[in-house]
């Protein structure tokens, strides 16, 4: 790995697809705007993978910006902080990104937006110790901001038997339409680089690389201009979906394969999103917890699509408002990108720590899944970055042969959507895979 610095040919992985329309042109040149302060915020309690945090405030409490709302409910958990100063009006339920109502904290802003005085002072990361840095990250409630929402400090605490020799930052942003990470890298490359260096320091790793797809030359240039001083390598990657998936990214940059069922640390790597790196820098250097992030609001029917720096807990409808509304009635509201994002049924769903984009699709762009038969063309097989056979698998799942599907490695599916994207029969392949995974997990629990 150590020898590979910006290879002459863009690196990639076997399989994958090239979405014909990437939609990035809508927002990739739009500078990140700071969103205005709102009156009401809805902070979902559980914004991380693992144990939900324990709420420590109660109705009527006054909070300042950055005050703790909920403490980590275990090791694999992340704290929650107030996005602004104001009063807790209620602790109840709000629509969550998965469609069902989830516990949430309602905050009425007082308009002052005062920082809490309990915040820790900024650290000089070059001098601070690794443990100091790590505990700062944990207390700042930082989770993987690319989508998985896995608590960052857990990833940075590998078990002693796993030797980590390489930190990889994911700046691929292979999802069409999304440009939040792109803008972040262009506008504040030093935050990303410093965040990367902090992680390298925590893990004691010299090899730090940021993988960026070649369709973002300005981001690569911005990062490269200052990469030297942070000891970070910038790696240009072939534009190919899903380049930003952990396993594929590791393969593209280091040539290592993460064993099936394993984690990146099994290949000696830690992979973090660039937005997470920036948040780490803020937490360490400024002492600011994770309360805001860059979100792309986009779609062909959005009047003025753009990138906004918004507080966690901002309802999506506000983003639509800032983007000057829509040209025609949207038929689909998607949190995240078009390939892996989740369709929503309410515009009141708030922005979470892992919401990288809000995508509105109009009638003409809606794809219709059909219950047509697999014609065995093999396009899904060619597209699958995990080398599965989604078509035959989906036939097994349709016939509820989940054990056979399991034997055919359905559990290795990333749900990246490359198969369903390519399927000429418009079969809902990803949904089949997810069903099989859910059923197998359920059967395994018994």
């Amino acid at each position: 790995m150590s020898e590979r610095v910006i290879p002459p040919k863009p690196l990639s992985f076997p399989g994958g697809i090239h979405p014909a329309k990437d939609g990035k042109g809508l927002t990739e040149h739009k500078a990140v705007e700071k969103a205005p302060l709102l009156e009401d915020y809805v902070v979902l309690v559980s914004q991380n993978v693992g144990a939900p945090p324990k709420v420590t405030v109660k109705k009527g409490d006054a909070v300042k910006k950055g005050d703790i709302l909920a403490e980590a409910g275990g090791f694999v958990s992340a704290a929650l902080h107030s996005p602004t100063s104001g009063v807790i009006t209620d602790i109840g339920e709000a629509p969550g990104p998965m469609g069902v109502n989830v516990p949430a904290i309602f905050i009425k802003a007082d308009g002052l937006d005062e920082w809490s005085d309990k915040l820790p002072a900024g650290l000089n990361w070059r001098e601070a110790s690794a443990d100091e840095l790590k505990s700062r990250i944990a207390s700042s409630g930082i989770v993987g901001m690319g989508g998985a929402a896995f608590p960052t400090h857990v990833k940075l605490s590998p078990p002693p038997d796993k030797k980590i020799d390489c930190v990889i930052l994911n700046g691929a942003e292979c999802e069409p339409y999304l440009t939040a990470d792109h803008r972040l890298m262009v506008e504040t490359p030093e935050r990303v680089l410093a965040g990367a260096a902090i992680m390298g320091k925590i893990l004691g790793v010299e090899n730090i690389a940021i993988g960026v797809e070649l369709n973002k030359p300005d981001a690569i240039a911005a990062l490269e201009a200052r990469a030297q001083e942070y000891g970070v390598k910038i790696v240009g990657l072939k534009v190919q979906y899903p380049q930003g998936s952990e396993k594929q990214l590791i393969y593209a940059i280091t040539g290592r394969c993460v064993p099936t069922g394993g984690l990146p640390m099994d290949a000696g790597c830690v992979v973090q999103n660039v937005a997470t790196a920036a948040a780490i820098y803020d937490a360490v250097a400024e002492g600011h917890p994770l309360i805001e992030r860059v979100v792309t609001i986009t779609g062909d029917i959005v009047v003025n699509p753009g990138n906004y720096l918004v507080r966690i807990g901002t309802p999506v409808i506000k983003l639509v408002e800032w983007a000057s509304g829509v040209k025609s009635e949207p038929r689909k509201l998607i949190l995240g990108g078009p390939m892996m994002g989740f369709a929503q049924k309410s515009y009141n769903v708030p922005v979470s720590k892992n919401t990288s984009g809000v995508l509105l699709l109009g009638g003409a762009e809606i794809i219709q899944y059909e219950s047509s038969s697999c014609i065995r063309c093999g396009m899904c097989v060619r597209g699958c970055p995990m080398h599965l056979s989604p078509g035959p698998l989906s036939m097994l799942i349709e016939n509820e042969k989940f054990d056979l599907a399991g034997q055919n490695h359905v559990m290795d599916c990333l749900e990246c959507g490359a198969c369903a994207y390519a399927c000429p029969a418009h079969r809902p392949l990803v949904q089949h895979m997810r069903r099989a995974k859910a059923e197998i997990r359920r059967a395994g629990k018994k």
């Binding site: 339920e93 469609g99 109502n101 899944y369 219950s371 349709e398 089949h432 997810r434 859910a438």
Partner: protein, 286 residues
């Protein structure tokens, strides 16, 4: 001529004898101990392989019964006569009889519950529940994709107006449907129970009212009209205490006049769901 017959018999006989000896030796060498009673019990079982007994199919169950690991009445499908005939054949106790049936504790058909969104995808409850929590407004109600109906080996579940309804007279209580429901709405209840509260949503009443016309709002009217102990409070809703005897009857439903209409007898429930169609089965649940 006579000699030919004689020789033929002799010839065939010798070969048969030889083969017989070989078979005998081989079967001694490769003998497998087997219990003929397993076959016997298997023959007496219904052979639906529904798994309601908790064993992997009827053959497995037969083995367990013969081994004395479980009583023959564990088979939910066999009638009591069948169970006693198995017990007689083995000379053991049949075990006390406790029959169950399944009931879907949700009354939210498309008329009562809003279809919030259009759903485009696999027609299966587990799949639908993973996509934004399904198209219906209540996050705890029946998804209406019929996974339970497809899983029923006895065809006892009917999908009416996007709501699963169990036909008690067809249900044998095997429980195959219970595990298919991603919302855990299907409960096994005593076969003689008649009145159910068709709501499983644990949220507060106003939230339920927003999404459904027939939720249990926890008003406790049923508790007041029924006998002590027939109902119990479960969070923000009331549930029938199925282990309490006597179970509430139709008169409780009349007396309570449930304000939302989620307390119903099975007969009434079916009749409501069949509102558009003429109610044909008078003797339902009799």
């Amino acid at each position: 001529m006579g000699t030919t017959i004689l020789v033929a018999i002799l010839f065939t006989g010798v070969i048969a004898l030889l083969l017989g000896i070989i078979i005998g030796v081989v079967s001694k060498l490769f003998s497998v101990p087997s219990d003929p009673r397993v076959e016997l019990v298997l023959g007496l079982l219904p052979g639906a392989n529904c798994g309601g007994c908790g064993k992997a199919g009827c053959a497995d169950f037969a083995k367990a019964v013969v081994a004395g690991e479980c009583p023959p009445n564990k088979c939910p499908v066999s009638s009591s006569e069948q169970v006693s005939s198995i017990a007689r054949a083995l000379g053991i106790e049949a075990g006390s009889e406790f029959r169950q049936k399944a009931v879907v504790l949700c009354g939210g058909d498309v008329n009562q519950m809003k279809m919030l969104t259009l759903y485009n995808g696999v027609s299966d409850c587990v799949s639908a529940s993973m996509i934004g929590g399904g198209p219906k407004s209540c996050a705890y109600g029946c998804l209406g994709m019929g996974s339970c109906a497809r899983s029923c080996p006895f065809g006892a579940i009917e999908m009416i107006n996007n709501l699963a309804v169990v036909h008690a007279e067809l249900c044998v209580g095997c429980g195959a449907c219970v595990k298919t429901c991603p919302r855990n709405l299907i409960k096994l209840v005593p076969a003689d129970s008649e009145v159910h509260i068709y709501c499983s949503s644990p949220v507060k009443a106003p939230l339920k009212r927003q999404v459904c016309n027939v939720p249990c709002i926890g008003c406790r009217k049923c508790m007041k009209s029924g006998e002590e102990g027939q109902f119990e409070v479960d969070g923000f809703k009331i549930k029938v205490a199925y282990d309490h005897q006597p179970l509430p009857g139709a008169e409780v439903v009349d007396a309570a006049s449930c304000p939302t209409g989620c307390l119903l007898t099975e007969k009434q429930h079916l009749a409501i769901e069949r509102a558009e169609k003429p109610v044909v089965e008078e003797e339902v649940a009799s």
